[in-house]
Structures are given as structure tokens and as C-alpha cells.
């Protein structure tokens, strides 16, 4: 893999498709339809970059993540890791490749084996990839615990002896064990309390800087995503509807769905309480997605053409692509009011909080 120039993307996903057969009947299983979980999804991730994948429940985010790691076979499409097509790899090469691509799951409870000590959990990936010996794996385990802000003696404990945030740190340590280059983070903070969520988000950012990691950060929360990502891809019912660098996406969202998602986030500032334009209706079933633009049943700007013809993902600006027939002519969304809370008493108090904290923790 050393033949790749260093600025080449770590990951290239092209035309990825995943259909799940929906069956009925126990004895003679009959396929009665297809869930189109992922439809023609393409994107790239550069070295050291975080691409966020956002969208509502069931839109296909986790499936996309699993397809990238080849935890399931795609219906169609290509996934290249550092230029190499993953579909072409035999079992052995795939296993070796996995060392460089790891995943962190949403549920820190379910994803750790309860019968293994933390030390064993951290040594496992090294053992699988035949890295080092027992002694060096143990040393690496202690080092990993330190990296994620736990203590070396935690290696002897079992997962149930840790809090949710600590378990997520263990999950992160395990993902880091074999020095990966890409980590798929599938909603790594969604199950955590905000104060713990912030600890984990900061940790992920530190690790990225330290080890030059690339992240695919899956989330449904556009606020967390704004904090952690470089670029953002928005999915709706299996399709990408918009992809852009972070600044463009938040300053000038072009797809009506992205605009609606941004408007729907409850803002922790009562002075911004306004009558919002709200999306009506529910997310349609991916079993029978609407014709044409999949968003047309909920779109406030939909016209006749939208239900008849599927919009292509078109370039709006360099690196900014949008799947809407009318994005050029749609009215600009009301620009997000800037919060007054960034200044004033709250800011002073937060500064005092941070200063007091800094004074306590030796640098």
C-alpha cells in the first residue's frame, strides 16, 4: 500500500448499494420485497479527516458503516481502502486489512465481552493480528488505558465494573490497539449523558490529532457533528441528499431536508425560541420509498417534477453537492440566529469554571 501518494483519500466509497430481502413465511420463505437501506452512496475520506454521516433513524447510516468494514456484503458498489478494492480481497487479506479499519459502537454495554477482563479485551485485537507477545500486549494494554484516560490497574477489572462513559473509553482503546488508520464511529456518544459525551468527544479529537486518524463519524445529532467533523454527509432514506464541508453546510444548507434538520434541533437558548417552520409527516418506510425525490412527501418546496423524477446529486460549489431539482432557486433559509449567550454572565461563569478546573489539574 506504500505506492499510494500521501494525499490520496484513505477511503473511497463508490455507488454503494445494500438491499435487504424482506421475507414472509417460516417454512417456504418468500421474498415479498426489498428494504433499500443504502442506495448509490459515494464519498471519500482524506487522511486525518472526519466525515460525519447524519440522518434520522433507519436512513442507512449503520449499514453504510458496516459495508465499509465489510461486516456485510454490499449488493453493489465499491469500497477502496488506501486505493485497494476491498471486494477483491480474499479472507486472509481482508483480515489483515481490518487491522487498519476499526469500529466503535453506540452501545458500550453490548459491545464488550462481559467475561473478559479489560486487559484481555485490549489484547484480543493484537492477538488476532499476531502482533507482539503476551508481555508486549500487556504493556500495550496499559499504555492504551492511559491514552484514553483510564488507569493501568483497570486492566484487571471486568466491563460491568465501569460506568457508561468509561466503557466507551474501553471501546475506543480496543479500536486503537492495533494502530488503525480509519475508525468508523457508529454513534459513539448517543447513549451517554452530555457531561460524559463531552469528555468522549474531546478524547476522540485528541486522538485524531495525535495519531492522524481518519473518522467516519455516524450520528443523528447535527450539533455534535458540527463540533467534531470536517465535512458532513446528510442521508435520507438510504440516499445522500447533501454533502459539503462543515462551514458551507451549516452556513448555507441547500437541501430542504438539511435545512429542516438544522431548524429542528432544540437550541439551548430560550431567547431563540421562535415559531419554526416544521417538517410535517413521518419518515416514509424504506420498504416503499416515495417515487422521484424521496423527500418530496415532506418537502415544503416540492413541485410536480419532484414526485416524478429523481434528482441527481449535483455540484453546487466545489465539494458541495446537493440532490434537489430546485436548490438554485429555493428561498434562503432563515439564517440561524447567533446566540447572545456566548457573551455575558454565562460566558464569565464558564470561564471561571474552566479556570478553576485548570488550577486543580496539574498540566
Amino acid at each position: 500500500m506504500s505506492s499510494m501518494p500521501s494525499n490520496a483519500p484513505v477511503l473511497q466509497v463508490n455507488g454503494l448499494v445494500k438491499h435487504f430481502a424482506v421475507t414472509r413465511g417460516l417454512i417456504r420463505r418468500k421474498v415479498i420485497g426489498l428494504v433499500r437501506a443504502v442506495e448509490d452512496v459515494s464519498f471519500e475520506i482524506a487522511r486525518g479527516e472526519t466525515l460525519a454521516l447524519v440522518g434520522e433513524s433507519g436512513c442507512g447510516k449503520s449499514t453504510t458503516g458496516r459495508l465499509i468494514l465489510r461486516l456485510m456484503d454490499p449488493t453493489a458498489g465499491s469500497v477502496r481502502f488506501k486505493g485497494k478494492e476491498i471486494a477483491d480481497l480474499d479472507k486472509d487479506s481482508l483480515r489483515r486489512m481490518r487491522r487498519y479499519m476499526q469500529i466503535i459502537f453506540q452501545d458500550p454495554y453490548a459491545s464488550l465481552n462481559p467475561r473478559m477482563t479489560v486487559g484481555e479485551i485490549l489484547a484480543e485485537p493484537l492477538r488476532v493480528h499476531e502482533i507482539g507477545d503476551d508481555a508486549s500486549r500487556e504493556a500495550r494494554g496499559r499504555e492504551l488505558l492511559e491514552i484514553v484516560g483510564l488507569l493501568p490497574e483497570h486492566a484487571r477489572r471486568y466491563p460491568h465494573q465501569f460506568s457508561g462513559g468509561q466503557r466507551q473509553r474501553i471501546g475506543i482503546a480496543r479500536a486503537l490497539a492495533a494502530n488503525p488508520e480509519l475508525i468508523v464511529c457508529d454513534e459513539p456518544v448517543s447513549a451517554l449523558d452530555v457531561s460524559i459525551q463531552a469528555q468522549i468527544v474531546n478524547l476522540l479529537q485528541n486522538l485524531q490529532q495525535r495519531f492522524g486518524l481518519s473518522y467516519l463519524f455516524i450520528a443523528h445529532d447535527l450539533a455534535v457533528v458540527k463540533h467534531i467533523s470536517d465535512r458532513v454527509a446528510v442521508m435520507y432514506l438510504g440516499k445522500l441528499v447533501e454533502i459539503a464541508d462543515k462551514k458551507s453546510l451549516y452556513d448555507r444548507p441547500l437541501h430542504p431536508y438539511t435545512q429542516a434538520l438544522l431548524a429542528a434541533i432544540p437550541k439551548p437558548d430560550p431567547t431563540l425560541r421562535t415559531k419554526r417552520v416544521m417538517l410535517q409527516g413521518d419518515v416514509p418506510s424504506p420498504f416503499r420509498p416515495p417515487t422521484g425525490c424521496r423527500f418530496h412527501t415532506r418537502c415544503p418546496h416540492a413541485q410536480a417534477r419532484c414526485s416524478a423524477e429523481e434528482p441527481a446529486l449535483r455540484e453546487a460549489a466545489p465539494g458541495h453537492r446537493v440532490a434537489c431539482h430546485f436548490f438554485e432557486t429555493l428561498p434562503a433559509p432563515t439564517i440561524l440566529a447567533r446566540a447572545g449567550l456566548a457573551k455575558g454572565k454565562f460566558a464569565q461563569r464558564l470561564a471561571a469554571f474552566e479556570a478553576a478546573k485548570a488550577a486543580r489539574t496539574p498540566a
Binding site: H220, A264, L272, R338, L341, F353
Partner: protein, 326 residues
């Protein structure tokens, strides 16, 4: 102010084989008529136990509910008979839960369930109750309510089921609605619809709402007054604008600083170090002391009382108001 609900010195403890869990440990608050009070705090701090205690739904044993008084209107509900309490529940005092699927019965249509709730609290005929149920479903904006009323819960989306729960809770025109994480399980676009619906219904029906959530964003959207709970106690209580503009408790300050926001650019999120204490092993003094950057010896030994720090603004912190050390 005219308080519909007034809770004084509520303590709810659970006797377990791992010790006594002081889930709610001496809290007082009130909910004025026609207003929305938000109860916010992180997982395990005692929000749900508070609401279940007010509703009279704490399983006993292992739970034990004690209070100086829980006044609803002018009656102390802790001194009502089991029968009188049951009548109150789902009648004048109603609750919606976080997970609509577990609180709706899967083998009955949503219509049967709403009708049953109405008949339990009124002298209507079944036919009139059904008409009322359809009216309620229309009120919560379920399209083609007259048809959807005969659907089973599993044929509805999560957002629709939550609206059915709201319709059921409102069917007897409660004076108080307790909503425990009513939108947590829902997608943001659906959450926005439900919050908007609740505010709209409150304007029209004039009920008081106690909304429970871990999300300060939801609080900012709907609450008039806010109670911040930490480890079984209320640590701050204020008008919603004051709480966000001038937070006093270090926990509230840290919590507000740790929320990622789309309207503020911040390089790093603030963090509160450590984790919430276990309810069977609470710190002796201020329960936030082990995580608080301002804590000193007194904080670790003496529990701070909830005291007035500004008009209508209470805080339980020895050090408030905290300022930059010079």
C-alpha cells in the same frame, strides 16, 4: 403565585440488597397553574422517581415515599386512599412516558385504549367516548383520525404512538400533565412536532405541565421555569431565561458548557470530570463536590441548602456566585 402542585420535602428511597438507594432525597418544588416547569438532569439523578412519586406509582416495597406534603390543588395526595389516588391518575393528573410502545397495550387498538381511559373517568356512553377519542386524535394532529382509531399500536410510527399517548393523557382534561422524556426516543424532526404540539395544547387547554428531560435544548424550547437535579437533589431553580443567561450552580455551568451547539463556535467542549455518584454511596456534603472545580473543605462536609440568590432564583451551592479568581 397560584400553585397547582406543591411538593415539600419529598424523599423516595429504595431498600435493595446493595444498600439503601436514596433516589430522591429531600426535594421541594411547585408547578403553577397553566405553566410549564422543566425538570432536567443526567441519567439516574432521580427525575423519573420524582414523577412516579407524585403520581403514586412507586413500587412499594422496595420503594418508600415520604414527604411533608404533596399538595395537588388543596389536597395532600399522600394522604388519599388508594382508590382516590387511582381516580386522580389519568383524570386530573395525567402522565406520558418515554417509550410509547411499552406503555400502549399491543393487543388492543389505540381507540379501545383511549375509550377505556375516558370511560374510567367519566360517565359518558361508549359511543360518546369513541367520538371524544376521535376528537382527541384530531387534536394531536393524527391524519384521518376516524380511520386510524382502529389501528393497532404496531401499525403506527414512533411519533404517531407518542401522539396517541398524549391524546390518551389529555382525554380527561387533566389540570396537570407530567411528561417524562416525551421526545427522547424520537427523531429530531418528530421531536420538534411533538414539542410544538404540547405548547399548542397547553395554550388551548390551559393545563400545567411538568416536563422531564435530560436535554437542556428541550428545556429552553418549552419550559417557563427550570429545576436542575443532581444526585437526588435540586441544585438550582430559576426562570428559564435566568437559568441560561446567569447559571449559578457549578453543575449547571458545566452542563451548559458541555453541550455542543450549532449556534456557537467553540474549539473545545467544557467537560465535567468524573461521573455521577451512585445513589447508595452519596458524598456527605455537596453531592457535586467530587466533580466540582470550586469545592473546598466545607463543600465536602456540609450539604449546602437551596437558598435564594436572586429574586425567583435558588441555588444549592456554598460558593455561588462563582467569579474568576483574581
Amino acid at each position: 403565585m397560584d400553585n397547582l402542585l406543591e411538593v415539600r420535602g419529598l424523599k423516595t428511597h429504595f431498600a435493595t440488597d446493595r444498600g439503601l438507594f436514596r433516589a430522591v432525597d429531600g426535594i421541594s418544588f411547585s408547578v403553577p397553574r397553566g405553566r410549564t416547569v422543566g425538570l432536567v438532569g443526567e441519567s439516574g439523578c432521580g427525575k423519573s422517581v420524582t414523577s412516579l412519586s407524585v403520581m403514586g406509582l412507586v413500587p412499594s416495597p422496595p420503594g418508600k415515599v415520604e414527604a411533608e406534603a404533596v399538595l395537588f390543588g388543596n389536597r395532600d395526595v399522600l394522604r388519599l386512599s388508594a382508590d382516590e389516588r387511582r381516580k386522580l391518575r389519568g383524570g386530573k393528573m395525567s402522565m406520558i412516558f418515554q417509550e410509547p410502545m411499552t406503555s400502549l397495550n399491543p393487543v388492543h387498538t389505540v381507540g379501545q385504549q383511549i375509550v377505556e381511559a375516558i370511560l374510567a373517568h367519566s360517565a359518558m356512553t361508549p359511543r360518546a367516548a369513541r367520538a371524544r377519542a376521535i376528537e382527541m386524535l384530531e387534536l394531536v394532529r393524527i391524519p384521518s383520525a376516524a380511520q386510524r382509531i382502529d389501528d393497532f399500536p404496531h401499525n403506527m410510527s414512533g411519533g404517531m404512538r407518542q401522539r396517541v399517548m398524549i391524546a390518551m393523557a389529555l382525554s380527561c382534561e387533566p389540570a396537570l400533565l407530567i411528561a417524562d422524556e416525551p421526545t427522547t426516543a424520537l427523531d429530531v424532526t418528530i421531536q420538534a412536532q411533538i414539542l410544538d404540539l404540547l405548547s399548542d395544547l397547553q395554550r388551548r387547554l390551559g393545563m400545567a405541565i411538568l416536563i422531564i428531560t435530560h436535554d437542556l435544548g428541550v428545556i429552553a424550547e418549552v419550559a417557563d421555569q427550570v429545576l436542575v437535579m443532581y444526585a437526588g437533589r435540586i441544585v438550582e431553580s430559576a426562570d428559564v431565561n435566568d437559568l441560561f443567561a446567569d447559571p449559578q450552580h457549578p453543575y449547571t455551568i458545566g452542563l451548559l458548557g458541555s453541550i455542543p451547539r450549532i449556534d456557537v463556535d467553540r474549539k473545545r467542549l467544557a467537560t465535567i470530570e468524573g461521573t455521577v455518584p451512585s445513589p447508595n454511596n452519596q458524598p456527605a456534603g455537596c453531592r457535586f463536590a467530587p466533580r466540582c472545580p470550586f469545592a473546598d473543605q466545607r463543600c465536602r462536609l456540609d450539604p449546602p441548602p437551596l437558598r435564594d440568590i436572586a429574586p425567583g432564583h435558588q441555588v444549592a451551592c456554598w460558593k455561588a456566585p462563582v467569579e474568576m479568581a483574581s
